[in-house]
């Protein structure tokens, strides 16, 4: 059997393992709905999320306002829909940044090896052992509340896992003939790492990214809840819950609907991520 056959066979098996997993489909369906709502928010949302109506404030869910209205008379359903944009964007961009920075660090560290590698890895271990939320909270607090800073803060907390994932295959790949051949032909280190090593692990890094996105979205919501998220008037789920929390005794809908939105989004991402992990994990396949 040639190598290419083994690879395509493996891919097929992974796909079958993923496809036959019912939870994976539930997750994908939920996720598509959420992404759809986020992209087409202006069409899907019944009202303008910032439009205030002092006459209809703090109304419970009704036929007019399915999720009720908040203390400024804004439609909660519309705000939840628009809030998905912030959560998904911050989650996606933070993971993207962490993925690029983390795998770069991992590849360089694995390729260079030696003392450099050991120092880098122990720094990453230290970062891993520090609670994500606290690290994100500290960085966000230091940088100040804004969309960019939030993305940077969350990205920093997620760098370590990517570096670890990228490092291990690099150490194996750098011993392989094709890298040696490239070296013999006088290719620079950057070219070898970027064009020859990275493509060989890109899929693994992306898979890890899909699994960590749930965590990034959870951190975003938590930081917004603490008050370190995207500043108002942008609607974010975490901030909506925090605002609604002031009225929790007489207006439950203010915080319940954004809470459910967070739960469903993270759950959907976890379903998908878990199914991918189950599909890759050789232990679950053997059965």
């Amino acid at each position: 059997m040639s190598i290419s056959e083994t690879v395509s066979h493996r891919k097929n098996r992974l796909w079958t393992a993923f496809r036959t997993n019912r939870l994976a489909w539930v997750g994908l369906l939920l996720l598509s709905l959420i992404v759809f709502a986020a992209i087409f928010a202006p069409v899907v949302a019944p009202c303008d999320p910032a439009e205030q109506n002092i006459l209809r404030r703090l109304e419970p869910p009704s036929a007019d306002f399915w999720f009720g209205t908040d203390a400024y008379g804004r439609d909660i359903l519309s705000r939840v829909i628009y809030g998905s944009r912030v959560s998904l964007m911050v989650g996606f961009l933070a993971i993207l940044v962490a993925m690029v920075v983390g795998s770069t660090i991992g590849i360089i560290s694995g390729y260079v090896g030696g003392i450099f590698d050991r120092v880098v890895m122990s720094v990453l271990d230290v970062m891993l052992s520090f609670p994500t939320l606290l690290l994100g909270l500290m960085i966000a607090a230091m940088l100040g509340a804004s969309l960019e800073n939030l993305i940077i803060a969350i990205a920093i907390t997620e760098i370590a896992p990517f570096a670890r994932v990228a490092r291990a295959p690099t150490m194996a790949l750098k011993q392989r003939e094709f890298i040696e051949a490239g070296r013999a032909m006088g290719f620079g280190r950057v070219r070898l790492m970027g064009l020859h090593i990275f493509p060989n692990m890109a899929s693994e890094v992306v898979v890890v990214g899909s699994m960590w996105m749930a965590s990034a979205i959870r951190t975003e919501a938590s930081l917004s809840f603490i008050g370190l998220g995207v500043p108002p008037p942008t609607s974010t789920w975490g901030a909506m819950i925090r605002d609604g929390f002031d009225n929790i005794l007489d207006a439950w809908w203010l915080s319940v609907f954004p809470s459910l939105a967070i739960l469903l989004t993270v759950l959907a991402l976890n379903f998908v991520g878990d199914s991918i992990r189950d599909a890759i994990d050789p232990k679950t396949q053997a059965e």
């Binding site: 606290l134 909270l137 230091m142 319940v256 976890n270």
Partner: protein
């Protein structure tokens, strides 16, 4: 065993130094002049330079670094810019509340999570397994402030069974009652994690040859599970509890806000809101020390649970 413990303690020193360095760098990343950030841009030049001297910002960077490390190692974590108390005193004031909550949560998580995971493994791919997996998936997906708010609405607001604000009323019963919801909130995620790890580790152990041998020799299944399988399946669970402890403390920030409980989390948010940067830096050091201590304790506990560890 003693040699193992000592070696593990020595290994913690470089980690601690690394963490201190990381915190130092992180705090220096703050854009702009920290003195202006703390006092505001209306402050006089005199006040600014006084504060810079007080914070040691007029010194070269390596002096600041050495000063920071030496002070941190000797237990001087700085002084709050607002209350005037040292970070250490502030932490001691609220630490019992956080520790009480954390301990109760770990206990609850272990008591519920272990049986959940073990039952799931024993009834693999049957309904108890699916139930347990869905429960743990939901538990892992919920950010703790969402759990807290949903529990608060259900049990305190709607049903009125438990107090909304967990303020200690003085009586022991009232105190324990007010601890229930925060403990549930914080414990659910950890319970989910323990259930999941216990399940997979139990499955791995049940496939081992020695279990099959014991079964073939006619060991009764209750005894087989308790004496042979469970002991080995516990090892990863202990590690997970230790590793997750840091996150648990991190999540206590959210739980303490939701239930307006005093604690380390409240302290951090307070420092954040008053832009008390020396306090924040000090609290980070305290947390770092805490996390390292828990990791060391976990490793040592690991040595007790698994005798093979200390040999390597």
């Amino acid at each position: 065993m003693t040699a193992y413990v000592i070696r593990r303690l020595l290994l913690a020193i470089p980690t601690l130094l690394m963490m201190l360095t990381l915190i130092f760098v992180l705090v220096r990343l703050v854009p702009g002049d920290p003195a202006i950030t703390i006092l505001g841009d209306q402050a006089t030049e005199q006040a600014l330079s006084n504060l810079r001297i007080e914070l040691g910002l007029d010194q070269p960077i390596y002096v600041q670094y050495l000063d920071f490390v030496i002070k941190a190692v000797t237990g001087d974590f700085g002084r709050s810019l607002f209350t005037g108390r040292t970070v250490f005193e502030e932490v001691l004031l609220v630490l019992p509340y956080t520790l009480e909550l954390a301990a109760a949560s770990v206990l609850l998580a272990a008591l519920l999570g272990l049986p959940l995971g073990i039952v799931a493994a024993l009834y693999r791919n049957l309904w108890p397994d699916y139930m347990s997996r869905v429960v743990s998936m939901i538990g892992l997906s919920l950010p703790s402030f969402v759990t807290g708010i949903l529990l608060l609405l259900a049990f305190a607001v709607n049903l009125g069974w438990l107090p909304v604000i967990s303020k200690s009323t003085g009586s022991l019963a009232g105190h324990l009652l007010s601890l229930i919801l925060p403990t549930l909130t914080l414990g659910i995620t950890m319970m989910a994690l323990i259930a999941r790890v216990a399940r997979s580790s139990m499955l791995t152990v049940l496939n081992e040859d020695y279990i099959r041998t014991a079964k073939a020799k006619g060991v009764r299944s209750a005894r087989l599970i308790r004496k042979h399988a469970l002991r080995n399946a516990m090892i990863p669970v202990v590690t997970v509890i230790g590793l997750y402890f840091g996150t648990l403390i991190g999540n206590s920030v959210l739980t303490e806000i939701v239930f307006s409980r005093p604690g380390l989390g409240k302290l951090i948010v307070g420092a954040l809101n008053s832009r008390d940067y020396t306090m924040l830096q000090g609290l980070m050091v305290v947390f770092a020390a805490f996390v390292i201590a828990v990791n060391v304790i976990t490793d040592i506990a690991y040595g007790f649970v698994d005798p093979r560890v200390k040999l390597s």
